[in-house]
Amino acid sequence: MANTDYAYRRLVNTLWPERVSRTEFDRMVYSHDFASLPKVALLQWRLYPDFVVLPQTTEEVASLVKLSDESGLPIVPRGGGTGWYGGAVPVRGGVLIDMRKMSHVRSFDPATRTITVEAGMTWQDVAEYAEARGLTLPSLPTNAMASTVGGGINSDVVGYGSLRNGGLRQVVADLEVVLPDARVLHTAFAGDAGGAYADLTPFFFGAEGTLGVITAATLRLIAKPDLVKPLAYAFKDTPAAATFLGAMVDAGFQPYHAALLDREHFVFERALRAGSPEPADMVLVTLAGAKDDVADQEKALDALAPKLAAAKRPPQEAEDLWAHRFMMYSARRLSRGLVVANNVVPLSRLGEACRLSRELIRKMKLNGAVHAFPMDTASAILAPYVLMDDTTPSGGTALGYVKKLGDAAFELGGHPMGLGLFMVFNLRRMHGRAAPYTAYVKSVFDPGKKINPGKTIEVWTKYQFPGLRAIPPPAMRVGLDVAAALRRIKPTPDKFVRAYERGKEAD
């Protein structure tokens, strides 16, 4: 490996000094993503990158990737840094590529209804650009405000619109990728070939930055609907709300979006924002389309609702919920930290899944809320979140919840979402005998393990000595099982809301 001063000079020659940083502060900022990591993790991984770089063009990204052959430093691509499982942080330092300066629209074609954007643009910005021109994205991540195009694809996220219009996989027509050998590849045929001509795009969904650096994406757009109308219904409990979601889909409704938010979510919201809706187990259904069609669907849903013991809430409440849809995790302010357990479960078992989510929250003495939504006619996202304060001894143990709920998702015929750095042990359980296929794909794209190494299919440590180089995935699993067990023996439940309110009064 070349020395870091030399590597720094080479990086500066490529990007100019203002887009290369090695300050302690910048390196610290980039040493974590949305996941709160206990300090002890630094014993295991070199989470601080050696350099943070901000390329502006595909050529610059290719040069950076090429440079890594000389420097021996691994490359870690990063978008908004909002991932939950450490996908965008280094394990052995290296060059962290922040893609957010690549945030321009390259072309927009209303005739073919496609847009080509740079990978550092947020989904929300893409949607706004299209909407100003009468079109919109068929679907976008629930975190569209901060999630970049490249980050969303690499995380294989699901979000608004997928129930009606299909998920992001159907939105992406082509990707421009800088491969680990610095070649620039288009993953699909230019034009709609319906997956023909060796379409490699699917491999990049869920790749978590380990196959190459996405620099641009061509996305499909649809007509902007005449009307978007949110409706809110309240239920006696969470499983009843979940049953409503399943029954609604089985009855043939495929609204733009439909989500369950449990009572606890609103308890947290209320503590932070007085005007937020009265706590209740709620379903938010968002209809989109022609005015008369939306009106008809609303009528039909209103007819279905009483059969499933749903009480319609006032329109302002629905509007408020929809307006705050991108601010799902304000509750983080109550506790300093928050973890999300993101899973896919069969929609037909969502009621059971929600019940289990709550039960685990109770058993583990956590403060948490359940959030879930159907992603298509058969699957649902189950994404409860729990609050944590990682400055307290019991804080990090909340990660045990993610593990335990993931186990429950498997039992229900689904699976947890995301592997990143902490959840790699799930790979084998997810895919069984097909698990090695993942490693085969990585070995074809990145035989030298240059791009975001030591994650997704394996867990490296910062050490390079034999025997210490990697953590066997089962060891991580045991670690999280221990965390979960510690939570259970914790004598008292967390009381973040009360503590927060006391703090407010004291102020």
Partner: protein, 476 residues
């Protein structure tokens, strides 16, 4: 089936000194028509070989055993090695058969034509008796064995309260497997067939039962989407046995509406407009007069017949119908009497399939909906040039793409197939935004980005199939 094998063979053939001077297309032509005046005898022999045996699969244990025999692991039992280790040692030691003994699957109904390079003396598996299906008590999914006729699955799903969203644009008697390894053009208005596949139960090259994807839920966030990355060429990566499908609920109310057009320009304008409205339908199909005559013989068809499946609530349907009428303005006649081609009894569907399969199909033309009329006119011109009756079936996508399948009333010999494929490829070049998708078109294509992708895909195939049993790559 073996697109990678065909492509790899051609790549290798261009490196043979005797053939390296030939331009690629002439070589492909010679290989396709098996021109023995141009090609060496050994190559002709490669192209005319047939699998040594055909094995009819009744259960997956048969297939596992077969794959294990082919990959050699059966004979290594005494060493106690498993298939991966056995193969590693074999590769390391350079021990190998001089020709791989491969396994290939036989499509039930093939829309276009056979692959270029047949399985070289290996085993052909026939799944025609492997036709079970399961519907879980709750939820919108099904598990279908690959030999199951598509129509049977469609009917059974309806009977159980579901809708199988992907329907064939050309109504042949396809099996589920034909959509996975063959060329069955299944799609809905929203998406291609692949989007409805949640999982495939397979036998791997190592002879293991291997599930790719999740049967009851989508595979998002589980690492690379290997399922959808390999599905278009599935049988070159694993042997698919059962397909886990995502269904839709049977709509509360549905209706099939038929609109005829006497003019291609009006059809183009209507389709373009329809796809821009954001409305949703199970499917939207169009047949020109020749195709409509095949579907409904005895009826004097207008130049274009559009059929649209409408679904929704009983009260919402009239609203959707009104919006549809407005989008399709310019039609000549509208009717609600023409039956839904997929809802008819199985025997009737089979009869239509028999008539449709007589056509010589060359592949799919994907083009902007606004160019539908242009395609029709150009196809007519081609028909006149080659003195053959020509027609097309097509389906519209919400994205505004029209997926069209031209056919010719011509004997299905290889020379005609090649020449007509070339003819269609040429006319497609003249339609802005159009692309011709066929196996021959894949072989002709020399675009560097595509070649780079094919090389990567070939590497992935070789990694999945390191024992070289799944339609193994062949060199001349």
């Amino acid at each position: 089936m073996g697109l990678l094998r065909d492509w790899n063979y051609i790549e290798a053939a261009t490196e043979i000194p005797a053939l390296s001077e030939m331009i690629r297309e002439a070589l492909i032509h010679a290989l396709f028509v098996r021109n023995d005046r141009v090609l060496p005898r050994e190559i002709i022999a490669d192209l005319t070989r047939t699998p040594a045996v055909t094995v009819k699969i009744k259960d997956d244990a048969d297939l596992r055993k077969l794959v294990q025999v082919l990959n050699g692991s059966e004979s290594t039992m005494s060493l106690g090695l498993d298939a991966e280790d056995y193969n590693y040692f074999r590769t390391q030691l350079g021990v190998g058969k001089d020709r791989e003994i491969g396994l290939t699957v036989r499509p039930h109904a093939l829309l276009t034509y056979d692959w270029l390079v047949p399985e070289q003396r290996g085993v052909q598996v026939d799944f025609s008796g492997y036709e079970g299906m399961q519907f879980p008590a709750k939820g919108q999914t099904a598990l279908a064995q690959v030999g199951l006729p598509w129509k049977r699955l469609y009917d059974e799903a309806l009977a159980k309260g579901h809708l199988l969203p992907a329907v064939p644009t050309v109504p042949l008697d396809f099996t589920v497997g034909d959509a996975v390894w063959g060329d069955a053009p299944l799609a809905s208005y929203d998406a291609e067939f692949d989007a409805y596949v949640n999982a495939v139960r397979t036998i791997s090259a190592f002879g293991h039962r291997t599930r790719v994807g999740f049967e009851e839920a989508a595979n998002n966030g589980t690492g690379y989407d290997v399922l959808h990355g390999t599905l278009p060429l599935a049988s070159e990566f694993y042997v698919p046995l059962e397909v886990g499908l995502r269904l839709a609920p049977k709509p509360a109310a549905q209706k099939t509406l038929t609109y005829t057009y006497d003019d291609g320009a009006k059809l183009s304008a209507s389709f373009d407009k329809l796809a821009r409205t954001g409305q949703r339908f199970p499917w939207v199909h169009v047949a020109d007069a020749a195709a409509a005559a095949v579907l409904r013989p005895g009826i004097l068809a207008d130049p274009f017949t559009v059929q649209v499946a409408l679904a929704g609530t009983a009260t919402g349907l009239p609203l959707r119908e009104k919006a549809l009428d407005a989008a399709l303005a310019g039609y000549k006649v509208k009717s609600a009497e023409v039956p839904d081609p997929f809802g008819v009894p199985a025997a009737e569907y089979a009869k239509a399939a028999k008539r449709a399969e007589r056509g010589l199909f060359v592949g799919e033309v994907r083009l902007p909906a606004a160019s539908a009329g242009d395609l029709a006119a150009r196809l007519k011109g081609l028909g006149q040039q080659v003195a053959a009756k020509v027609g097309f079936y097509a389906s519209l996508r919400a994205s505004g793409t029209l997926s069209a399948f031209p056919f010719f009333d011509h004997p299905k010999d290889r020379t005609h197939i090649y020449d007509l494929s070339k003819g269609v490829a040429r006319l497609v070049e003249k339609i802005p935004g159009a692309v011709f998708v066929s196996r021959l078109a894949h072989l002709w294509n020399e675009e560097p980005a595509y070649l780079a992708r094919m090389r990567l895909l070939r590497e992935i195939k070789l990694a999945f199939d390191s024992p070289h049993v799944l339609e193994p790559l062949v060199r001349p």
